[in-house]
Symmetry: D2
Subunit: 279 residues, 4 copies
């Protein structure tokens, strides 16, 4: 089978962009397997993602595309490959176990290099799957020291993405800035409803008839980052807060798995505080 | 066919309630077609709804139930029947037309006695269905006078429920107090996300991946009343604000029709700021 | 605002197609507003739909595209416009009323030229909306004569699409052949479950927990044509057949409206017995 | 906290049943936490499920209920407890891993006593969770001998339910008869669409826009047993058969987990070929 490459383009919109890009690809006799594009009208930005089959020289094609496109264009071209990721957890297992099982059976388009927990409850479960578990307690530490310890723990694994798989500590702007658009979080509500702590209790008190979960990039503003995926399920008056939490776990793990899949397949762009998702 | 009655009970919970109620029903050789009950644990309140077939004396049964149940019990017993309602509208047609068509074909469990609009755009459409349309403009009037004119307009129709079918004016606490738990509204968002004006614009800016609608009782606090029904649909980066509005209309009319059906069939109870819905 | 054109391409796949098409468009300084493409791997066919803004000469562009693309390519290029359609009905109103109301308020991307019914129950309702209703009874007629009468009745309206909005007669292969991929039907089940008559009764007997509806192109094989849209809703043991029918009506009209919108916006391609839908 | 008991009643309908049952419960000062009932109109059968809190003598209450109810009444009364189950698998892991993880974290209302596989691929994964894996190959055996070996393997565990978690062999009527309404299966389609083998390929060929999964009791007729739970997800023309299989796995495991939860909580009754599910 021919090798598969992913090409991602982001630039100001103007006419002729698709012709310019596909002209370069065609000139090399490469085949476009899938192509998706979108023009964001507010910022007048062009986004495109291509799956290209055929042997190619990444540097050469990138250079040619650079010449054919506006000077501020962001071009990413690389062979399709699994990415290295690290998971951060606290005590809840449902997202972690879901990702570890997918990883174990080769269904996650990533290498889980390590799991870091601020508690050690999930250590033995993680180790069943031969993934290193690193316990970095936050106790007695300033946020700064705690985060530095996490950074140190992650450092040898050079993760492309950091997944907060029910990590219940708020990260500082300094931490977040180091991994711009590379940290994703699962929030246990349909954002922007029920920002902050105890969303299921808030949902119960408000008497909502749907509860949900949101996977989003982490930015400086708590629960305010660009949303990747959201899902909801029906609830009714018979649900207690505990019942909502249990039902919510099912949605949370499904939403996180789906968002992570989109991210790992290079399908997500960020523009302003929104995402463009080529699914 | 035997006549059908609806019995609704609301009282503090204690053991033996169902035995007491069904004992009275059984003593009269009446048949319980459907029974639903719920104990709300926070307030320790008992709610039940029965559909009872067979000829019965409403006063007699009500009196016997009163004796068998705690003194503060609320008992409602009446023959199943269509209720009289009035619709309040502004300019948007999608909820109004949906309800008028259902009514025309006998599929709405209600008699629409009149449509009142603060604009007259929907007059000619309403009249196609032989329903009176009353134009009560808010222009040049204080809120108080405007609302008094609406109350005067509704008065001859003695509506049991008032349906805000995209009525875009906020009602005063005084108005609302006159029709406690008898006014329902359709809000064009998944409450409590995007309270207030322009929810679709807010949703667009926030980049959500689902948009929704909420049917709720109107209380003094804007968009804060007990929720009856909510639904959402998927959106993605390709939706403009206008596209969200159009897609949202489909959800709004579906949610309002469903909530109204539940209400008209006496399936909805209010407890604190939540609803118990026996669907 | 610039005029908008729709370009649809269908041809055998080969590398360089998108470059060839977008090259022609770019050479005329036209702007691609939206572009979607798909390669069907079984037949190795390429499908694409473009929305193009800017003044253009349809014949000239079509000719240039013809030269740039494989000889068997099907090219459709036309200004975005409302299409003329005719609705066929029997006695049920829910799909008809939904389409008439959308049409009345300018929300259907089509001109409903006429409604033809084999019963006359829906005549007075149709006429409220100033649409001609033509009663063509099937009684006492052979299928051939009945269908000829329908064809005669439709003839002056020159419909681009014929919508079976709960038309409960099976059309002959001869009739269908005259309007290839131009007749759509709403079937009241999640096809291929419950083909044929009384799908809700079949669904009830089978005890399914979901019921659905399917909009599809009509072909010679009953209920076997290419599917455009499907939706389902939850049901449970409390649903009688009648309850399923009522709940099903909501899905049927939603599915038909959605499929028709896709069709009228030129988003649907047929390949083998499947559809490619660029939504 | 008071002990919780589950009471299930199934009998011919007649007036006074609920009064009779709740009269017995009230006479013992027991508290009804939840009560659900249903009258199946075709067979005129009454079904009810109660959660009762308070100390009680099972034999005494059962006897009293027996006296108060029709002679053919089926009464089940037992303390709420985890049930013993055995899982049968072939090679696919997604349902097995989902159930093993839930079990490991105490979230499955059951004790998984053993996993039996006709291949040994899933042995090492199962053993991570300290659950016995028994390999019973079908190779070279008659169906009769193969099934006898499975029965022998299960025998020491005395399972109340047998869960076919992607067990790809058809069981004989003799096997099924031994475990009436105690075997549940997950079928990878929205039954009754795509009965039999390769439902995803069938779905792909038919061009459906939704794919689903069905959890059902196993009866003599393949894929024809009473349905407990069904779910679907959207697919479009971009899904290959493989893509449908992958997406379908998510639905299959969710549907099986949900059906099993309902079963283990004694919420499912069978009547004719349908289920009554008190969720």
């Amino acid at each position: 089978m021919d090798p598969l490459h992913i090409l991602r383009i982001q630039c100001p919109d103007r006419s002729g962009l698709i012709a310019a890009i596909t002209g370069v690809i065609a000139a090399h006799q490469l085949n476009i397997v899938v192509m998706k594009e979108f023009v964001e009208p507010v910022s007048n930005s062009f986004f495109a993602r291509f799956e290209i089959s055929g042997a190619l020289n990444v540097d050469e094609i990138t250079q040619e595309l650079g010449k054919a496109l506006p000077p501020t264009t962001q071009i990413e071209l690389h062979a399709a490959r699994k990415k290295d990721i690290v998971l951060l957890v606290t005590k809840e297992q449902h997202c972690l176990s879901d990702l570890l099982v997918r990883h174990f059976f080769g269904e996650l388009h990533a290498n889980i290099k390590a799991v870091i927990g601020n508690y050690d409850q999930l250590a033995s479960f993680t180790k069943k799957f031969d993934i290193p578990f690193i316990h970095v307690s936050h106790e007695g530490l300033t946020k700064e020291s705690f985060e530095q310890k996490i950074i140190d723990a992650m450092q040898p694994f050079e993760p492309e993405y950091i997944v907060l798989a029910k990590f219940m500590r708020i990260l500082s702007p300094e931490f977040v800035a180091q991994y711009k658009h590379r940290i994703i979080n699962i929030h246990h509500s349909f954002l922007p409803a029920f920002v902050g702590a105890h969303p299921y209790r808030q949902a119960y008190e408000r008497g909502v008839k749907l509860i949900g979960a949101t996977a989003h990039f982490v930015t400086n503003d708590l629960d305010e980052g660009p949303i990747i995926t959201q899902k909801v399920i029906n609830v009714d008056h018979e649900y207690s807060v505990t019942g909502m939490v249990q039902a919510g776990h099912e949605v949370e793990k499904a939403v996180l798995a789906e968002a992570l899949k989109l991210l790992l397949e290079d399908r997500v762009f960020v523009t302003r505080n929104r995402t463009v998702v080529f699914d």
